[in-house]
Amino acid sequence: MKTILWTQNETPTTPTTILIDGVECVDEMKRQKAFALLNSANQNLSLSPKKREKLAKEHKISKQANFKVDTGSQSVYIQGNYEDVDAVGRRMPYMFLIFGTTDIDVARKELIDESKIIGRICYNIELAVLTDECKKKIQLKQLLPIAILIIVIMLILVLVNVV
């Protein structure tokens, strides 16, 4: 299993759609397994409620849009809303998980392509915002050791000077 895409449909009585590796899954056991994987992937997502609130206000995207890059399991998880709306006019939600990569651009492209299979259009602004936020976090992670190193060097210099 390389990718899982879950989405709701237009009415409450229509079952949700789950794609596994780009193919719609109807086997109940496989669906449950895939859904369980999505739900374990969506714990401790990258954007806090406060940050999401801010992004939703600034970019008019949904408040639940979020992501997680997991270097341990080599996976990327993205959740958000499509441009397509349900029977009551709300943009329909999706959850997407891809294994074997930690590259948000690869995940984003795969999500867009798989969504096309079921005739859904991803909300580009939302995906662009999530991608930017993801890249900012990665940059910050890369800068952190350098910042710590600089602080340690400065402390050593101060101590040497004092002694």
Partner: protein, 230 residues
């Protein structure tokens, strides 16, 4: 004195010169301030944990927004898969209620076997919503509601015991404004009639209302929430 010799020109120089009494007062003050912060933080964290459950489009996120004293926005909120929220203060009938952080989960049936069980076990208060208009007009929808209540009711009774369960849940039939006039007057009667044939018939005797969540100053809803959080 070793400090003075060691510190040279630095600010630490003046520390040993401060009288012992000042150190004591300072220490007591700092301990008191830290204790107040820790205690207030711990007290603040205690609150009501809630689970709002129900099928897709029944108004779960709308109710969360009402409790958060915000307005539901179709664009920003959209349909929900899963959305984490921080703890917040809710003003319920002029009373501040602290609601613990948690997750707003979507209405898909996929959530029932895992999340419903977890929510019922972990949360203090369970609110089940369903669209009363859909319930009365669509058999599949009504069956779905019944299946979910069949799942919930025994677990609620097992958790709280038959007597205590009354104060721990509410049943809200939403979109009452959309029910055609000829049906709306008898909606509760019809609901009661249908519930009486089911295992969860006892659920209806308690905190059940039919409401329009978009209506401002909804007295029925306020009463219902007051019963839960009062």
């Amino acid at each position: 004195m070793s400090l003075i010799e060691f510190s040279g020109n630095y600010t630490l120089l003046f520390l040993p010169a401060i009288p012992v009494a000042v150190w004591w007062i300072g220490g007591v003050l700092i301990t008191a301030i830290v204790s107040i912060i820790v205690v207030s933080r711990l007290t603040r964290l205690k609150g009501n944990s809630i689970a709002i459950l129900g099928p897709q489009g029944c108004g779960k996120t709308s109710l969360y927004r009402i409790l958060q004293n915000r307005r539901y926005d179709r664009v920003k909120d959209g349909g929900t898969s899963v959305e984490e929220y921080n703890s917040f203060k809710s003003n319920i009938v002029n009373k501040n209620v602290h609601i613990e952080g948690g997750k707003d989960i979507g209405g898909s049936r996929d959530y029932v076997p895992t999340y419903y069980k977890q929510m019922i076990n972990e949360k203090d208060i369970i609110i089940f919503l369903f669209d009363i208009n859909e319930y009365l007009s669509d058999v599949d929808y009504a069956n779905d509601v019944h299946d979910r209540l069949d799942f919930i009711w025994p677990k609620l009774k097992a958790k709280y015991g038959s007597d205590d369960v009354k104060s721990k849940y509410a049943l809200i039939g939403t979109h009452y404004d959309l029910v055609p006039k000829e049906k709306s007057k008898k909606a509760y009667e019809e609901l009661s009639h249908r519930f009486n044939r089911e295992e969860f018939a006892g659920m209806l005797k308690n905190n059940t209302i039919l409401a329009d969540l978009t209506k401002p100053d909804n007295k029925e809803l306020s009463k219902c929430l007051e019963k839960l959080f009062g």
